[in-house]
């Protein structure tokens, strides 16, 4: 996927979000660190463009909720970054945003983390890329692109805000 394709995917996802939720009323975006955060900001811009409304946007670091943290006491702990959700998620429809949906374990951790912030009315999942190979019963509500992969391959998402360019690359 190149920059053009990524931006058209996000624009389409914004339309789908509006259609499915019948507007932006009570919506909020939460991006999963690292690359879900700029993606959430871009979707917020699209929604603003379409509805002239600012959708509250937050950032979630799921490190403290990972299921592989304490399984083997080997090697360094992952670096923790800040979670910033400056609004109440109670009774909101939360759009959880991540770059790549793979095993589903990150999303499981993010769901646990979100529930600790309150009781949203619903949580919907946005993924720029769905590469398959789920290990948990989790699916995305909005997908930029489905990319069939083998488990040996890796999907690299690079975004302007963090990596200096927009692209999705399939490696291996």
């Amino acid at each position: 996927m190149d920059a053009d394709r990524i931006s058209r995917s996000l624009a389409r996802i914004a339309h789908e979000i509006l259609e499915r939720n019948r507007g932006v009323e009570s919506l909020a975006l939460v991006g999963i660190r690292s690359r879900g955060v700029p993606l959430a900001a871009r979707i917020a811009r699209e929604l603003k463009h379409l509805s002239s409304t600012d959708v509250p946007t937050g950032a979630l670091d799921i490190t403290l909720y990972r299921d592989d943290l304490m399984r083997h006491a080997v090697g360094p702990q992952p670096v923790i970054r800040r979670t910033e959700i400056p609004f109440s998620i109670d009774d909101k429809v939360i759009l959880l945003v991540d770059d790549v949906l793979y095993t589903g374990r990150t999303i499981r951790a993010a769901l646990d983390a979100l529930i600790d912030f309150g009781r949203p009315r619903a949580i919907q999942l946005v993924a720029l890329v769905d590469r398959g190979h789920r290990e948990l019963p989790i699916r995305a509500d909005y997908v930029g692109r489905n990319i069939p992969t083998s488990p040996q391959q890796s999907v690299q998402v690079r975004l302007l805000e963090l990596d200096g360019l927009d692209e999705v690359e399939l490696q291996g």
Partner: protein, 318 residues
């Protein structure tokens, strides 16, 4: 952001064993941990299934409660042991106590002891990670880390900061840990106290030493007051509390000599009217309660970072 992603040792025995990049890592991690306290549910599942023993051979309220809260916020299982009512008062040696606790397979032991170096001895015996919560007149690393975190929070940096540390220097492990940390990260430290309460060799640690409080506070960005530790004074170190307050107490008039927007710190518990005036302790420049709040976040960071580390089975003894 810090340049390392892990601490090099599986113990935190003192600031002496930490490199500047490790200090940055703890402070950056603490920043993320601090956010947990703002949530409706102030608890994360990170240390679920880990056992932490709090071994306090010396009276402690705030440090112990701060560690316990940090442990609980990370979902660890914790148990505490105090001196009174334990086998220690029945004559057991530290080594035997350690081996007994070790047999219960804890993952970490948080220890405070009146003897300098006691946690180091524990680290040689135990396979668990040892965290020093204050050993005698030696070190109190998590206090220095939370002090640094608080300074960075209010001043935006540590390098080049002018820090005056005033009071009972000789009995203070807070001083020793703070001096090591602050000199490692490039802050300028002035230590001030009555000549009878200045430990020999302090100036060799890269600290300016003075007995003039005015000179110490002059232009300081941070004024850190230390408690007069009456319980450790087995002799006459100064003539009277009134005279001590007159010469070394922090008053609004004296604080006026410090840099604009200077902050006042105190590790607690405070002796109002001995080392600090109530108007200063309760004034807008005081960050003393921020220190308490930050203590929990910094201890969560230390517990988290030490929970990783090497494979326990073949871990080397330091």
């Amino acid at each position: 952001m810090s340049t390392v992603t892990a601490l090099r040792s599986r113990h935190l025995l003192g600031i002496a064993g930490l490199e500047p990049d490790e200090i940055d890592l703890v402070l950056d991690t603490a920043l993320a941990m601090k956010e947990v306290a703002t949530r409706p549910i102030k608890k994360v599942p990170t240390l679920r299934g880990r056992t932490i023993i709090n071994l306090f051979f010396e009276a402690s309220t705030r440090t112990r409660m701060s560690f316990e809260l940090a442990e609980k916020r990370l979902s660890a299982d914790t148990l505490g042991m105090t001196v009174s009512g334990s086998s220690v008062s029945k004559g057991e040696t530290l080594a035997d106590t350690a081996r007994t606790l070790e047999a219960m397979a804890p993952d970490m032991i948080v220890m405070r002891h009146a003897a300098s170096g006691a946690p180091h001895q524990l680290a040689r015996i135990c396979r668990s990670s040892i965290i020093n919560a204050g050993d005698g007149m030696h070190e109190h690393p998590t206090q220095a880390l939370l002090d640094a975190f608080t300074m960075r929070e209010h001043k935006g940096r540590l390098k080049g900061l002018r820090v005056a540390i005033v009071g009972d220097l000789v009995h203070s492990r807070v001083l020793r840990s703070n001096v090591q940390l602050l000199t490692k990260v490039g802050a300028q430290v002035v230590a001030c106290g009555p000549p009878t309460l200045i430990p020999p060799g302090l100036d060799a640690l890269g600290v300016r030493v003075t007995s003039s409080m005015d000179a110490a506070v002059d232009g300081a960005d941070v004024v850190m007051m230390l408690r007069v530790q009456h319980e450790r004074m087995h002799g006459l170190f100064f003539p009277s509390v009134r005279e001590y307050f007159r010469l070394f107490g922090l008053t609004p008039a004296r604080l006026a000599r410090a840099a604009p927007e200077a902050i006042v710190m105190h590790p607690g518990p405070m002796n109002r009217g001995v080392e600090i005036d109530s108007d200063v302790a309760d004034g807008p420049w005081s960050v003393i309660l921020d220190q308490v709040a930050n203590g929990v976040a910094v201890r969560m960071a230390v517990l988290y970072l030490l929970a990783g580390g090497e494979e326990r089975a073949d871990a080397t003894v330091v």
